[in-house]
Symmetry: C2
Subunit: 208 residues, 2 copies
């Protein structure tokens, strides 16, 4: 009996994830407030009433999504921080991977837009606001530290590392939203254009 209980738990979690995915799509398309519970239920292929067996409210789903998104971003920034290379190479590698992800992962684009939405509004659940306050700065700080080390190493351009970090994330975020809202029309993404804004002597490396 304990085993079937476990299985139920797993199935429940799977279903919740299905709901979260549906909600992410709708939130990105319509925003938190314009999205109706029914929109999420329809997208997930279940009845409206059933959704309440998994989540108590729309806000609760939103908080779950924001939390996931923040954790993933933090994880990614930690994995860059812990690389066993110099800071300049960390920046280069991170940008290469991020641009690649923009090109290939719709979920990443959606997640960027969700975070932008959340950051840009004060009318989101209090719990989500607190999560953002608590977790949002970590990736910024990680990149700031790497920029600082890179300047000492001589591979990163001059300027307040804090500003460089803001531009780092802003560029990625802006690019993701641009890419997402313009259906990839027009621009061929080239991470070297960004990389060369942060790194010194990119020309030589590029030859490799």
């Amino acid at each position: 009996m304990a085993r079937s209980k476990e299985q139920n738990e797993r199935m429940r979690e799977t279903r919740k994830e299905k709901i979260r995915n549906a909600a992410l799509l709708q939130f990105v398309k319509q925003g938190l407030f314009a999205t109706r519970i029914q929109d999420i239920a329809a997208e997930a292929g279940i009845a409206q009433g059933l959704l309440y067996h998994y989540y108590a409210s729309k806000d609760e789903i939103f908080v779950d999504l924001i939390n996931d998104a923040l954790d993933k971003t933090i994880e990614a920034s930690y994995s860059v921080r812990d690389m066993e290379t110099g800071p300049g190479e960390k920046i280069r590698f991170a940008l290469e991977k991020l641009v690649e992800t923009i090109e290939h992962s719709q979920t990443f684009l959606d997640t960027c837009r969700l975070i932008t939405q959340a950051t840009n509004s004060t009318a989101i659940p209090l719990e989500a606001q607190n999560l953002i306050l608590e977790k949002r700065n970590i990736p910024y700080q990680v990149i700031e530290k790497i920029m600082e080390a890179g300047q000492k190493e001589g591979t990163v351009v001059a300027g307040d590392p804090k500003m460089l970090s803001i531009f780092f994330w802003t560029s990625i975020n802006g690019l993701a939203i641009y890419y997402s809202t313009n259906d990839n029309r027009g621009v061929k993404l080239d991470y070297w254009v960004i990389a060369s804004m942060f790194l010194i002597e990119t020309e030589r490396e590029r030859e490799e």
Copy 2:
């Protein structure tokens, strides 16, 4: 009588502007959907019912605001385009002015956030969507052209001019939102950090 009619028109327009200012504040704080007509009316200091004498709906106010914001951005980009200096200096000057505006104009910050909100959601009035499609690209194209000319001139860094233009606006926009949502804490804005990302040989000019 014709004169008093004119005066009435002016007063009406003044009142509408008051409503628009109130709406901008609320839209930025809460987003289009979370903002109630009553929130706007209260912010403008009038009764809820009265608002309908000036605007037929919340959407109509939103469209008006978006239109204004887009026009102002276009105007600004045209004035940069028509400067009688080289392209490199145009970029430098534009960034200097924009960063200054970020620091001193709350309305500019709010406008940036409104546009971001609108661009980032498909659940806005159709008319607003069309305005964005129609007008949004103009500032991008203007900067793209200047970047291209600057590369020929030898003052602008290498890379797809289209991407450089996206980064230009993305950086300004991202900085505005960061500045706005972090209450100016932490960063001292320095436009040279951005400028040196787009311009070659910024060090020498900086000495001046």
